[in-house]
Structure formats: structure tokens, C-alpha cells
Symmetry: C2
Subunit: 334 residues, 2 copies
């Protein structure tokens, strides 16, 4: 090891509404020594994800809140540099949950070796990892999309959304519509094979969705909430399903926006709205990896990455993600 | 036949917000003559139900809107008085869909003979009919209640709600909580075997529900929407389910009230919200009738009826239903 210093990002203060740079603090610590059963990992890539915004609040949720004045955490890929654990050797690349720091002390049970010859290592933080499984399980298991159906996905140029649209087409959707936040993203969606795409800044989502899917939709994969969800409820056909993956539109609202005023339509249309977390769908992982790896090999799935360099820029990468500045998966290279 | 005059209730004007007597008109017509395949039925009881409010608006929905200046319709039980149709004879009691009139001309295919020796005829408009099946299918098929769970039902002293609570107990719910709109109704719920009941006028629903189910709930059977649904979403435990049967709180709102502001909780708790119509659950009818008839025979299910006399009072019966003046099933005796 050449560096004796580890740099990590701490939560300095909880945000009210939109987080800012002041909510984070770059802290230098000594590189720790691995104890029994521990690996010292030099992180190479870390993930920033929308769900992390929720963990910055001090509320009970599915994941515990980040602690103040302690490093944040999240998905990361790094190289084992020390640690005497059976089955691991220096140089091994491992996937684990202690991002937001240059060096991580990882319990061996929490580390999963990844093979850089099968796919670029960043794929394990995205298309072949939790992100891909989120898209796959949400679309096929939660929303139970059937061939011939029309699918709408919001935040469609994001890491999850862009995969939802592509998986839908590969699994036989008749029509796939995506919404995104810029003309460049809309253009990218068309290149990815979406049948229609619109910029949600261009007018009421309800109108844009109606133009893009005049016959209505059967499935809505919700990453946004708010007016997107309301528009989808109006557009859904009888027996339509909504997989609710995220509601990024309201993560930063000090007062949550009104939920869809047309919610009563769920009765007459017999709609199902279902929230989900990818962690409940581990039973699909093997099937997912097999199918997705095949699609990647055949060049039938494309994925975008937006990479920011340096731990010191991780907060800005996260803030940029919340502002929608990423195309595809947002990563920090360490 | 002694009466040559038929009286029926027409929709005189579409309501804006709460309907009033002015939206209805009592009209006298000649008693019609049955044509081939038709039965002339002298109605004995007609049903008024909350869903009829939706049909008074001129909006596309699961059921077509009532036409202006024409009789309303809905569930009714009557006696065949004329008509030459195989399988039917004068004096037969039939269940059909042409209520809101004293005499109905019913296509034989739309009439179902009922046996008054098996159950009081009004039961076929309630506990053994669509009302009972709505409670049964919503609780067991839509919300998939499991033994040992905690169930909350709103409008619990109504026709559907009171059955939901009793079926839940009979099928092994650990705890059943109901909300209603008066102290007398709350008392009735306790007599029906509800473990806890509260008057929603007594304070925020969220607080009352928390007191009644401090450990949270697993299933919410929604007849009300609005603040009841919001409170339920807060109280639901992970993997909880909501069967959305009605949203009576908003049927009469000119502007729909805000939907639950805490809707984003569906993600972390992995909640499922599902709207349903009883018409989709006909496959359960035989099982339901068998099980419910058994419970009735054994005296394990009780049901209330609020009966108003005379076709001329049908509008007031319906308006009283919307105001919650009924205990159990609201019926009009003709």
C-alpha cells in the first residue's frame, strides 16, 4: 500500500428538502487493519442511487438512516488488498456494501467476488446487479407484464428505467413509452428502442402520455410519483398494474406533494399499485443473471454510465443524480 | 293485476357535489306488457348502493352513467306477474337489475329465481348476494387475508363492512378493527364481534386507528378513501394489502380531496393497493354461497337492514345512505 490515508464522505447534517454540499463532509482517516474474517478493500467504483436520499432523513424506513458524522454506505466494487480469509486473495475484485470511502473493511460474508472477464466490473453495480434486477423483477414479477401489452416507464433514461424499457421490448411488449427530463435523453430513449418518448418539461405529463399511448397503457413502472403517477392512473386500462419503485419527485419535498387525485379510478379500472424493494426478489436472481447476461452477449441490451472521478466529488455526483444530470447509471470512480 | 299504473324514479338532473331530492323525479307510466322472452315483475324490494352515486355523473366508468329523464336501475327482488317464459311462473320470486321502479320488464336471461324458503328474500340483495360476495372476495381474494392477521375496515357498520369484519373473524383474523360514524354504530360493531371499533368523528383517524391497533394492521378493506386510506397506509405493516372497494368520502366532492400524502410508504413497506369490482369474482360465487349459507344457518353471521317504504321514498333512502344513516344494508320496500 502506498497510501496511508483513507478518505471517506460523512453525513455532516441532515437535509431539509434538497440536499446540498453542506450536508456532506470529506474526512481523512487512517487506513484500517483487517481483523479476523475481514478484508481490506480498496474501492474502485461506488454507486450513488436515489434511494440514498431517504436514508439521509432520520425516519424509520426499510433501510436504517445514515448516521450523522459517520461515513455513508452503499454499493461498491473494490480490490482486496489485505485480509487473511479463505477463498479471497489480494487482487480479487469484490462487490460489497461499503461505498463512500476509499478503503473499506468488509466482513468476508458481505463480499461477493466478481469476474471482470465476464463483464466490465461496473456492470456488477448496474445492469447485472441490483439495478438490473430491480428493473427485471419490477416489470416481470411485480407488474407481471405480459407480451402484447403497453408499458410506460418514468425516469426512463436512468439506470433502472432504461433497462425496464429494453426488457419490456425483449419480453414482447407491444409498445414501450418513456419519459425523461431533457431532449438528449429523449433522443437516447429512441435509440434504445423505445417506441415513444417525451420530455416531461414539454407539457402536462397527462397530455404527453396520451399522445404517446393513445390507446392507453397496461403497466406503469414508477420511478417518479407525483404527476407521473396521476397521469399513469388516468391512462391505465382495466386490470392495469403499477410497480412502484421510487418517487424521486417527492424525495426532496419538505411537504409531500398531493398524491394522485384520481386515485378512486383504481376501483372501476381494477388497478393494482404495488410498492417493492429489490431485496424481496432474490429468488429471481439466477434467472435474471442468466437472461440478462445472454442479452448483453448478444448485444440486445445497452446501458449507459455517467462516471464522476474522485471521492471528493461523490457528493456532487449524488446531487447531480437527484437533479437528473445522469444518463444511465451514476458511478464514482475512486 | 290491480294497479294499472307503474311508478318509477328518473334521474332529473346530474348532481354537482352532494345529490339532493331535486336530482330525482317520480314518474307515473303505464304498466308495460311483456314481449317474447320477457317477464313482467312486480318489484318487492330494491337496493340502494353507494356505487350508484358514480353512475349519476356523466363520466365513463365501469358501469355506464344513468341516462337523464329515464329510470335509474339497480338490484331488485320481485314477483313474476306475467310473461310466457319456460322455467318461470307467476308467483316466482326473481332477482334482477331493474330496480327504482314498481314494475320491471325483465329479460328472462337477466332474472334469477330465488328460494324464499332458504333465506329471507332480502338476503339475496345483501348478505347472500353481491354485497356478501363483495366482502368475501375483497377480503379473501383481493386482500388475501391470512389467519392471524389484523384487519381494518371502514364504513364497518355498512352492509359490506359489517360482513368483512365478521368474515375476517370466522376465517381466523387475530384482530379486527372497524370505523363508523356514530356511537350507536360503534356499539353495534362490538356486538358483531369486532375487537375494536371507533367513531371517526372522535379525532384524527390516524390516532384512533393507532389506539385500536397499536401493533399495526396487515389488511385494510377500504370503503371510504381520504383520511381513512392515509391512516391505513401509515398503520400497515410490511407486505400489507389494501382492497379498495369504495371511496365514499369523495363521491360527492366537486374537487376530489388530496389522495394520501404518505403514498410513498408503499415502497419501503412493499404495500399492495388493489381496486376491485365484485363482477370480476364470479368464480368465487359457489364457494361463497356455500360458506356464507352455512354461517347463517349456524347463526355465526349477523346482518342488519335498514328498510324504507315506498318508491316515492327511494331517493331519500339513497341520500340517507350517502349520509351514513343506515345500519347495514339499505333497502326500499315497494
Amino acid at each position: 500500500m502506498t497510501a496511508a490515508v483513507n478518505r471517506e464522505i460523512h453525513l455532516a447534517a441532515r437535509p431539509h428538502g434538497w440536499p446540498t454540499a453542506e450536508n456532506f463532509r470529506l474526512v481523512e482517516t487512517a487506513v484500517p487493519e483487517p481483523g479476523p474474517g475481514q478484508l481490506l478493500v480498496r474501492n474502485r467504483y461506488m454507486s450513488v442511487d436515489p434511494y440514498m436520499r431517504g436514508r439521509m432523513d432520520d425516519v424509520k424506513s426499510y433501510a436504517p438512516p445514515f448516521a450523522l458524522d459517520a461515513p455513508l454506505d452503499g454499493g461498491a466494487i473494490g480490490e482486496v488488498v489485505a485480509g487473511d480469509v479463505d477463498g479471497f486473495a489480494p487482487g480479487d475484485l469484490v462487490l460489497h456494501g461499503l461505498g463512500w470511502r476509499e478503503y473499506a473493511l468488509v466482513g468476508a460474508a458481505s463480499a461477493r467476488k466478481v469476474n471482470p472477464d465476464l463483464a466490465p466490473v461496473t456492470a456488477y453495480l448496474g445492469v447485472l446487479g441490483m439495478i438490473g434486477l430491480t428493473a427485471y423483477a419490477g416489470l416481470l414479477d411485480v407488474a407481471r407484464m405480459q407480451p402484447g401489452e403497453t408499458v410506460f416507464v418514468s425516469a426512463a433514461a436512468g439506470a433502472v428505467g432504461s433497462l425496464v424499457g429494453q426488457i419490456a421490448k425483449l419480453r414482447g411488449a407491444a409498445r414501450v413509452v418513456g419519459s425523461a427530463g431533457s431532449p438528449a435523453k429523449v433522443e437516447r430513449l429512441r435509440a434504445l428502442g423505445f417506441d415513444a418518448a417525451f420530455d416531461y418539461h414539454d407539457g402536462p405529463v397527462r397530455d404527453s402520455l396520451k399522445a404517446a399511448a393513445p390507446e392507453g397503457i397496461d403497466v406503469y413502472f414508477d420511478n417518479v410519483g407525483g404527476d407521473h403517477l396521476e397521469a399513469a392512473i388516468s391512462a391505465l386500462r382495466p386490470h392495469g398494474r403499477v410497480a412502484i419503485c421510487g418517487m424521486i419527485a417527492q424525495y426532496n419535498a419538505a411537504t409531500p406533494p398531493a398524491a394522485p387525485r384520481n386515485l378512486a379510478l383504481v376501483i372501476g379500472k381494477r388497478l393494482t399499485l404495488r410498492g417493492f424493494l429489490v431485496g424481496d426478489h432474490g429468488d429471481l436472481r439466477d434467472e435474471f443473471v442468466r437472461e440478462m447476461a445472454g442479452w448483453l452477449r448478444e448485444g440486445r441490451v445497452a446501458y449507459d454510465e455517467t462516471v464522476v472521478d474522485g471521492i471528493e466529488n461523490a457528493p456532487e455526483a449524488f446531487l447531480g443524480l437527484l437533479r437528473g444530470e445522469n444518463l444511465g447509471k451514476m458511478l464514482v470512480r475512486l
